[in-house]
Amino acid sequence: MDLILEGILKAFHLLFTLDPEVLGITLLSLQISGTATFISLLIGISIGTTVALTEFPGRKFVVSLINTGMGLPPVVVGLFVTIFLWRNGPFGFLEILYTPTAMIVAQAIIATPIVMGISLAAIQALPKNLRLQILALGATRLQMVWILVKEARLPLLAGVMAGFGGVISEVGASIMVGGNIKGYSRVLTTATVMETSRGNFDIAIALGIILLLLAYFINLILTHIQQRERPR
């Protein structure tokens, strides 16, 4: 148990002295996962909403694909992204393997189905005639979708938080496509794994605590936005 205590003390020490390496790792985690979540937000909400509102042949199949995608094992995503980005792979010419960009791509692939699936469910949960009512008010298709998204903002924001939570805590894919390179593609999760395998448990625990704090504060902000006007 003193190991954990050591870790907590180490965590505060690193934070208060603004240890540059730890600060850099934390900032990178935020930048990479933040960008990936933002991308997943754009793609996930737009496609999720479209599928929710449109009838088309094979819709059931697409919906089950999305729902399956929500549980996609991140490590499998990492493996496939690596294979695609290898020098001799189909996208090797992009030369982004072992870069933060590759990590953003992998994390976006992991987060997007989550946001998509939750958006789909959120829009479908709206009252059936609401869509017609909005159209009857003279809205264009674009205006209608925008109003529906606003109406479903509570569950949609929950979806974004789920997506963010999924990728800020992800390690398998991030190591595979990022390479855990010091000062370049090393983030909180990958650094924790490395310090553990090196036996530096106090540092590992400290990084873990910092990761928890980071996730907590981001979600605090998002929750605040989500719950802003709940009168009841």
């Binding site: 005639n129 009512q133 009857a136 003279g138 809205a139």
Partner: protein, 366 residues
């Protein structure tokens, strides 16, 4: 067919859902400023017709014309819809303030802030709810919410107003109060209104014309008295409250009247039905008079039948008396009469009704 004041016309309109024909309206002309109600049982197609007229449904055949111009989906339908407004059975308000809700139609149209504020205020006052301006839409009662929905609809100054069973989800006092207010407002604004309801009394109260629908078709359309007193067929008759419907064959006729044989009894009615023709006779329960036997005060009624009371049902202010006179007959009496005549089930009574009170549908005409 298109009069100078017709604002909305449906021609040869058909709507199919999954292969089934759910709406079939060869012709419907709506005059500007009229209030038309659509009545009929569940599934008759009332909502479908409303939504089709508002271009919220895709047509499988035919066309909708607004002020003479055909509405097709090549155009941007939202431009047509901006001339309309629709209110549903549920208020379907947005998760924001009452002000934002009523303003939403105007904001969608890109109106400027001062104009929006003015219109919102006007319409809240119109519906008696200006005090709800900044309230959250989640914190108001059902009746208030429906008023907000109506205010939202009228704020955009539509040329046609569609209402889909707007009072169905309200409790009795809210309904009454809202119908009163809405009646006044519709007449003041001379708003062309089409509304669907399953409540006949509502329709009678508010409409200039009533359209009775069944299975996707309009089976009768006309002013309320016409539909009520001259139902076009059995279905309409039973829907508008003709309780007794009898089938028989004409056995005698002449001089503008005829006699039909029904279950061995003879009923005399007005009309030009021919010998051996099959007829359907409708008798409203309000027109059946009961007296204790033997008959004393029969007045000018030709049709007098002794019978036995089979069932007494209380309908609030009225009692429905079902008799067996050799054929089934229904009469309404007041509570007062019920006691005066000591009506009980099983009692023998004499029922009578005038020949002029019988509504005749000649099967031969079909």
């Amino acid at each position: 067919m298109n009069g100078p004041r017709s604002i909305l016309v449906a021609k040869d309109v058909q709507v199919r859902k999954g292969g089934t024909l759910v709406l079939d309206v060869p012709s419907l002309v709506i005059e500007e400023g009229e209030i038309l109600s659509l009545i009929g049982p569940n599934g008759a197609g009332k909502s479908t017709l409303l939504q089709t007229l508002a271009s919220l449904n895709r047509l499988s055949a035919g066309g909708i014309f607004f002020r003479g111009e055909k509405i097709s989906s090549d155009h941007r339908l939202f431009q047509y819809r901006r001339k309309l407004a629709m209110v549903f059975q549920e208020p379907l308000l947005f998760d924001t303030t009452v002000f934002e809700n009523v303003a939403s139609g105007l904001k969608i149209r890109g109106r400027e802030k001062p104009e929006v504020a003015k219109r919102v205020q006007e319409n809240l006052e119109r519906f008696g709810i200006p005090h709800l301006l900044n309230r959250s839409a989640r914190k108001i009662s059902g009746g208030e919410a429906q008023r907000v929905a109506l205010a939202r609809a009228l704020a955009t100054q539509p040329e046609v107003l569609f209402l889909d069973e707007p009072f169905a989800a309200l409790d009795h006092p809210s309904r009454e109060s809202l119908i009163d207010d809405l009646e006044q407002i519709l007449h003041q604004t001379k708003m062309t209104t089409i509304f669907a309801t399953h409540d006949l009394l509502e329709a009678l109260r508010l409409s200039d014309r009533i359209a009775v629908m069944n299975r996707g078709r309009i089976v009768q359309i006309g002013p309320p008295e016409e539909v009520m007193n001259h139902p076009a067929d059995e279905f309409v008759a039973s829907f508008v409250g003709v309780e007794t419907i009898l089938r028989g064959k004409v056995i005698r006729q002449g001089g503008g009247t005829f006699v039909a044989s029904i279950s061995g009894r003879e009923i005399e009615a007005l009309g030009g039905a021919q010998l051996s023709e099959e007829v359907v006779l409708g008798i409203r329960p309000e027109n059946v008079i009961l007296s204790p036997s033997p008959a004393k005060e029969i007045s000018s009624a030709r049709n007098v039948f002794p019978g036995r009371i089979v069932k007494i049902t209380s309908l609030g202010p009225l009692q429905k008396i079902q008799l067996d006179c050799g054929f089934p007959l229904a009469a309404f009496v007041t509570h007062h009469s019920l006691e005066n005549l000591s009506l009980t089930e099983g009692k023998e009574m004499v029922a009578s009704f005038k020949a002029t009170a019988i509504h005749v549908v000649r099967r031969g005409e079909k």
